[in-house]
């Protein structure tokens, strides 16, 4: 039987950094299955070579721009756009609001490090008729992804704020402020030694797994049966846990 997938017209990756692998994998997928898709990369951060312990960009510079350049080199037939800004409240030239980059029908890969940005993005996407948000992150050895699906104005999976207290009531800083004073990650490794460098790459792969499942389930008319909305993977212990919607009997 031929593989049937929906073809999202537009994907938006918010936050490239430690999730640098996500746009590459997504472009690999699009080059094969969805070559007409448009990819938008959004990040205000600057890559420097002292971050190579956890990020890969082939040259220093704005992460969205450098990532887009790399993807255009690898997949010259794909459409890629770079937005070299942080997502947040529009107070600076280097900040863009969610409404300016996310439209109804988009697939959003959310890889940001602060709950405030997630809260802002959620407030916007819940006003849209159709949206897919796949959010990824790590906590030491554990990778976690969250899947928010909304079609024709109805939530198919719960919004993140309904079960993530930090997204519902963010207490952290805005993107520009948050990223100013962060310790180098290599400092953290030296201090604690308790990190797993492949947890982030696992999170990227899990996000793309979820993306593939959404495309497949939607093409089959079975999106309401999406198997999970939260997935944890402990890369050190080899354990996985999924939160699923109650089955309607």
């Amino acid at each position: 039987m031929a593989l049937r997938l929906t073809n999202p017209e537009r994907s938006v990756v918010v936050g490239v950094g430690g999730g640098w692998l996500t746009p590459v994998l997504l472009s690999f997928f699009n080059s094969c299955f969805n070559p007409e898709a448009h990819l938008v990369l959004v990040d205000g951060g600057i890559f420097t070579f002292d971050q190579t312990d956890h990020e890969f960009f082939f040259r220093p510079g704005n992460k969205a721009k450098v990532s887009a350049e790399f993807i255009r080199w690898c997949f010259p037939h794909l459409s890629v756009e770079a937005v070299p800004k942080y997502v947040g409240v529009v107070e600076h030239d280097d900040v863009v609001s969610p409404a300016d980059i996310i439209r109804s029908g988009d697939f959003v890969f959310q890889q940001v490090d602060n709950a405030r940005t997630k809260n802002l993005i959620e407030a916007h996407v819940r006003t849209l008729a159709d949206i897919t948000v796949i959010s990824g992150g790590t906590d030491r050895d554990q990778a976690r992804i969250l899947v928010y699906l909304r079609r024709k104005g109805i939530d198919i999976t719960p919004p993140l704020s309904s079960y993530c207290s930090d997204v519902a009531n963010p207490t952290d800083e805005s993107p520009a402020e948050k990223l100013k004073g962060v310790d180098g990650c290599l400092e953290h490794v030296r201090k604690t030694g308790d990190v797993h460098p492949f947890a982030m790459l696992t999170a990227s792969v899990l996000m793309l797994d979820a993306f593939y499942m959404v495309c497949r389930q939607e093409a089959a008319g079975r999106l309401a049966e999406f198997p999970y909305y939260e997935l944890w993977h402990d890369v050190a212990a080899g354990r996985c846990r999924a939160e699923r919607l109650p089955v309607n009997l």
């Binding site: 709950a115 992150g137 790590t138 906590d139 554990q142 993530c164 207290s165 990190v195 999170a203 846990r241």
Partner: protein, 71 residues
């Protein structure tokens, strides 16, 4: 039976009648529960004195907010 969850870790055990504080102490090291992790029972935040009922599901909310090496 009560189900205790934190991140990728989950266990169902005979914990009804125990308080959230008790359960947190029991599972802190095994599940690596952060000191400031919020406890939710059946989706609602509860305090340390809440006594668990049969079939309760306790989630110690773990924040996996980073896409970088630092936790």
């Amino acid at each position: 039976m009560v189900t205790v969850v934190c991140g990728a870790d989950s266990e169902t055990a005979n914990l009804q009648g125990r308080t959230i504080a008790d359960v947190r102490n029991l599972y802190t090291n095994v599940f690596n529960i952060a000191p400031d992790a919020i406890a939710k029972v059946n989706g609602k935040q509860v305090g340390p004195d809440y006594k668990l009922q049969p079939d309760d599901k306790v989630v110690f909310e773990k924040v996996a907010n980073k896409f970088r090496l630092a936790a």
